[in-house]
Amino acid sequence: MERARPLGPVRAPSARSLRLALAQLGLTGLLLVGVEVVLVLPSETGPAWVLVLFPAVGLIYLAAGVLAWVRRPSNRMGPLLAAGALFWLAAALVNTGQAGLVGVGLVAATVPLAVVVHVLLAFPSGRLPEPGSRTIVAAAYVVTVVLQAPLYLFAGTPDAPEELTIAARPDLVALGGTVQSIAGAAVVAATAVVLARRLRAAAWVPRRVLLPLYAYGIVAVLGVPISANVLAPLLGLDPVALAVLQLAVLAGVPVAFAAGVLLGGFARAGEIEELGAWLGTEDGRRADLGDALAATLGDGSLRLAFWAPERDGYVDADGVPVELPAPGADRAAVRIERAGRRIGAISYDPTLIADPELVATAGRVVAIALDGERLTAELRASRESLVVSRARIAEAGDRERRRIAQDLHDGLQARLITLALRSGWIAEYATADPALRDDVAEVRAGLDAAITDLRRLVHGVLPALLIECGLAAAVEDLADQMPVAVQVDLSRLEGDLAPAVESTAYFLVSEALANAVKHSGAEALTVYLARDADRLRVEVRDDGIGGATPSAGTGLRGITDRVDVLGGRLTIDSPPGRGTVIRAELPCGS
């Protein structure tokens, strides 16, 4: 398994595609700005440098939007600011002096203000969370588009182009303006209320960032009408100065809010997609998972805790128990669940990550990796305990077998021999009656047969030679008994072996040789036993017809199981016509 790489160099393919698209957008926007500058310069509505300022502000919106978009791909502030640039450029067309373009400019004249309201309410994620804010933003667009209409519909030429004017009705223009002002004021007031509520709900550190941004946004929106209707007369500003003042205030909006998105530590939602891609390509190990999450969410103090059911509590990546922060403490926690089952938890600094939903989302992304890892660990543990218990059972079985063989040998067989001796004595010396002698001689013969049977039984259960003299002697004996010549190489067999290993190796050789003699028609057999540091290697080879399989008939199935239980390996290499090699490796400690 490779070590997990840090998050930086990994880039999801969609990110590359996005950069490409944004580069194109940026260039297109730049082109539009350039075109507008060219169009505006020759116009006579004001000094050239002031006129250029309008598309320049559009450029600022564009630049801020594209930057925010590329750095925070799934944050909507980028697209919003870039769209705002479009409206800016549209509104600035009013200075071009070309009839059709001027009309467009008149229609879009106040839309940039609605964009500022939208930006205000959508900060920091670029989405409008409450239904209330969605209504307000919609109202803002209605006020700036629909309620703007009377101002050009009834303006009369030459203030408005012919196509857009119905009649010259200054009274309706004034009325429309008043309605628009009131409606606009209402929108701004509602915005202020929503922002104030958000401020109150925010923790201290985000509040420090949000308060000035919100205040600046409100000032920017109110600033335009107030500066036009109140300040200008008050301070005696000429139209150029007024325009520059308004432009300056409004130009700061994209800069301030883009900076807020990039630097304010808010909403690193875009990188969660990268986290997902990273998890898919790497082996998400527990320690690396926590680091990756912290990097993704931008909180160095973020910690990932894992639910340990056997402790009924959380542990960290090293298995050390941890406590989740209590609600109201200066750290917050989000629990990760999957299919209703607790998997872990993320504890983080709520001043750095404002949105717990984001943390929960990140948690869901890693939950799958965590769960998979937990299941794998459980599976491994249960498999290990299974292996251990199988080995224990096999050893117990082997011990039983030895005990039985020895009990039979020492106890029962000895007793039968003594009985046979006594009956032999009786038959020979204790009576002169021939009939009785014959009877007793029969008893003796019967006992003799029983002893022979018992001897063979014990040999089948566990050969005495194996118990008394060990594996090497028993294997040599086996080889001697074969009707076909068997070459035995035990030169590398030394050291003591566990009884279970000896028995298994012995029966393996016995079975393999018996099969070779019975089925393969081989003329040369070899047995090789060697002890490496912690393994016993067994090899039985014949030059017969091959084609051996561990099927029921050959008894190799049982041997394979025994080898398996001890944690060893058995392979049968038996190509038809080319002999058979049975190899086994048995672990035997060091």
Binding site: I451, A464, P483
Partner: protein, 214 residues
């Protein structure tokens, strides 16, 4: 004939004592363990030692070790070893290179009291006695040898009886053929097995067993 008996199974030991005494042997020592066997032998210098192979303390092959020790320390002592199962390697080890006065029998043979006592005497007199089951195991293992295939069934029987340590006369009696026939068979066997004909019955046992054991 003076005998020392080694056997840890009490009832069997007492049975052996009775049996051998009834047969006219003089039991001069008893032991119930391997190391415990050597002392009385060294002390009393018997003609024959009859011992079980498996004895305390380890219950593996103490009796065999003791027998070999006795054979090397007191070469004139005959040794008859009793085992509860067939182990060809023990037979080969015991025979070593001096087959005289060596016996290796299955313990259950004691029940055939006449035959057993005859075997005991034969060994005590310097002959050889190998259990027929040991010999047939040797023969079975050697059936792969081509040379044995050139022997007739009868000759294989004779070979087996030679390996048991029987004399020509005993073989003739057992197979109910004439001693001359036995001699003819044996010379043929010697040719096939490439063994030098030897007047000494004992040496031929060794040669045959060596051949069969590979």
């Amino acid at each position: 004939m003076r005998v020392v008996i080694g056997e840890d199974e009490t009832l069997l030991r007492e049975g052996l004592v009775l049996l051998l005494a009834r047969s006219g042997l003089d039991v001069v020592g008893l032991a119930a363990g391997g190391p415990a066997l050597v002392r009385p032998v060294m002390a009393t210098g018997p003609d024959l030692v009859v011992t079980d192979i498996r004895m305390p303390p380890t219950h593996t092959d103490e009796g065999l070790r003791a027998a070999l020790e006795i054979r090397s320390a007191r070469p004139g002592t005959a040794v008859l070893v009793l085992s509860q199962h067939v182990q060809r390697r023990y037979a080969v080890e015991l025979l070593g290179d001096r087959p005289a006065g060596v016996g290796y029998l299955l313990k259950q043979r004691v029940a055939d009291v006449t035959a057993f006592c005859a075997d005991v005497r034969r060994v005590g007199d310097g002959g050889t006695a190998l259990d027929p089951e040991v010999v047939s195991a040797l023969l079975a293992g050697a059936r792969r040898r081509d040379a044995l295939e050139h022997l007739t069934a009868r000759q294989r029987e004779v070979l087996g009886l030679i390996a048991e340590g029987r004399s020509n006369a005993a073989i003739a009696r057992r197979l109910t053929i004439s001693e001359k026939a036995v001699v003819a068979h044996t010379s043929h066997i010697y040719d096939q097995l490439d063994i030098l004909p030897d007047e000494d019955d004992h040496r031929r046992v060794l040669a045959v067993v060596r051949y069969l054991a590979g």
